[in-house]
Amino acid sequence: MQAVQRKPGRSVGGQIGLGTFTVLFVLLIVAPFVWLLLAAFKSGKELYSMPVQILPSAFNLQNFKDAFSVQPLLKYVVNSIVVAVVSTVMIIIIASLVSFSLARTQIKGKRLVLLMLLSISLLPPVTILNPIYLMMSNLKMMNTTLGLALVLVAIELPTAAWYLMSFFQTIPDALEESAMIDGANVVTIFCRILMPLVAPGVFTVSIMTFIAVWNNYLFASVLNPSKKARTVTVALTMYAGETTTPWNTIAAAAIVACVPLVIMVLICQRRIVSGMVDGAVKG
């Protein structure tokens, strides 16, 4: 499906104006991050110098070396990846099933299920922390990536389910009806027709869930306190002491922590933005 052709009346000036606006807007959004990036290369003195020193005097990698030597950062990144991948996969599977059921079948008690799902997200996590801790402790699943991943499935499931449900709702009934006339059973419809159609939605929700699980702090810090199972988000708070904060090292570690996320977003956004859906919906 080709892009809609630009109307002939649109002036070059208008396009340049829009382009400039876009550039400025994007720069504004990225600016704080660039500042963080610069901080990762500065020494302690330069970080707090007055007047503010914008560029570091040298792009040395000392902060990055410190970030890795003070804490085993790489292991933490791996832990985070494992937790996030396992959680996301499980969440997408469970959420797809639930949202299909809620959006496209005639079951009773939908409202109840929806609100039940929602209730998980409505309490401050700290209040449900203690019972969950007790459970994990009894199951001997403390300090395991799997244990944390399972808990985070429960925490992030509602958002994923609700969003996927709304994506399912955008598919017209006509498609399913024609498939049923052709003799397909419901499982086939679900796997072969509906899932591909909500694929951009699935990718969107996957990114959202991945990032949410990656960035989780409370459960990750309480359930996985030991070094071997710690996630990178928790580790970022380990660099600070009681009275000193080595901001430059933290910035370097933060950059390292963001890299997998940014890569993942880059990969997935193509699937969303490329408009796989165009045309297919019409049938």
Binding site: A3, V26, K110, A154, W162, S166, T170, V277
Partner: protein
């Protein structure tokens, strides 16, 4: 589509989610509700949770600090959700344009969201710092201000600072959702409209928006609920100060629950948050309701 097989599948599909809910959530949620009716503090924990009926709730409604926190939270939620939804849609429209640099633009717009809140808070602390923060530096160079602005410690600016950081972090989230919503709009409708002479603005509001409605409603609903529960960002930036003027309901709840060890009262506050969030959800759900009864 009435079909027995479909119905059975529909019920079966719910099972994994119900298991998750039953294992992880039922007990903790009911526990919190129960505690809200008890006097349960770390200092007297050996005596267990003493049932005191509605005393915590009575205390809560007479608590000035709670009302201050509630007012702040409501105001903040309203402003931030509106800002983030509008800006999110704007970004989504930018990201939707065809062009060679689209992938790059998309990736850059999504960066703020990839940064963990912990880091984001520290980063904004660094930017908003009075003496060595880059924001004051730039403002002075540009001649906008002559005195350093106390972004985080002056009650006039603290609200704004938190708003800026929250919007910065959340706009990518909203824009991604809005973008996927845009993608679900059938382009044949748009083409038809264009042939009939509608301009871009008209076709956006009259055709695209209605198609995207379910997704937008859910996005705004969740964003409202999340905004209502804001905690991490405020904790790192102002910790509820200055003089408690940027304390959100959740910050107050967690202060009571963890810092003061007053878990019974904290639970009551949590239940309050729960009820208000539930009301928000139900209000939004009524908007989605029509689509549910397929």
């Amino acid at each position: 589509m009435h079909n027995k097989q479909r119905l059975v599948f529909g019920y079966l599909a719910l099972i994994p989610a119900i298991i998750v809910f039953a294992v992880f959530i039922v007990y903790p949620v009911f526990n919190t509700f129960y505690l809200s009716f008890c006097n349960y503090r770390t200092q007297t924990i050996r005596q267990g949770a003493k049932f005191i009926g509605l005393a915590n709730y009575a205390q809560m409604f007479g608590d000035d600090k709670m009302w201050t926190a509630l007012k702040f939270t409501v105001l903040f939620t309203l402003i931030s959700v509106v800002l983030e939804s509008v800006l999110g849609m704007l970004c989504a429209l930018i990201m939707n344009r065809q062009g060679k640099t689209r992938a790059l633009v998309c990736a850059m717009i999504l960066i703020p969201w990839c940064i963990p809140t912990v880091v984001s808070g520290l980063m904004w602390n660094y930017i908003f710092a009075e003496s060595y923060g880059i924001l004051n530096f730039l403002l002075q160079i540009l001649g906008v201000t002559s005195q350093p602005v106390r972004w985080l410690t002056d009650s006039r600016y603290a609200f704004l600072s938190i708003l800026i950081s929250d919007v910065w972090k959340t706009v990518p989230y909203m824009s991604l959702l809005m973008l996927s919503a845009l993608k679900t709009v059938d382009s044949s409708y748009l083409e038809a409209a264009q042939i009939d002479g509608a301009n871009k603005v008209q076709s956006f509001f009259k055709i695209s928006m209605p198609c995207m409605k379910p997704i937008i409603l859910v996005a705004v609903m969740f964003r409202t609920i999340q905004s209502f529960r804001i905690y991490d960002l405020i904790r790192v930036l102002t910790n509820g100060g200055p003089q408690g003027k940027t304390t959100s309901l959740t910050i107050y709840t967690i202060t009571q629950y963890t810092t003061y060890g007053n878990m019974g009262y904290g639970a009551a506050l949590a239940v309050l948050t729960f009820i208000i969030s539930m009301i928000i959800a139900v209000c939004f759900q009524d908007g989605v309701k029509s689509k549910l009864e397929v």
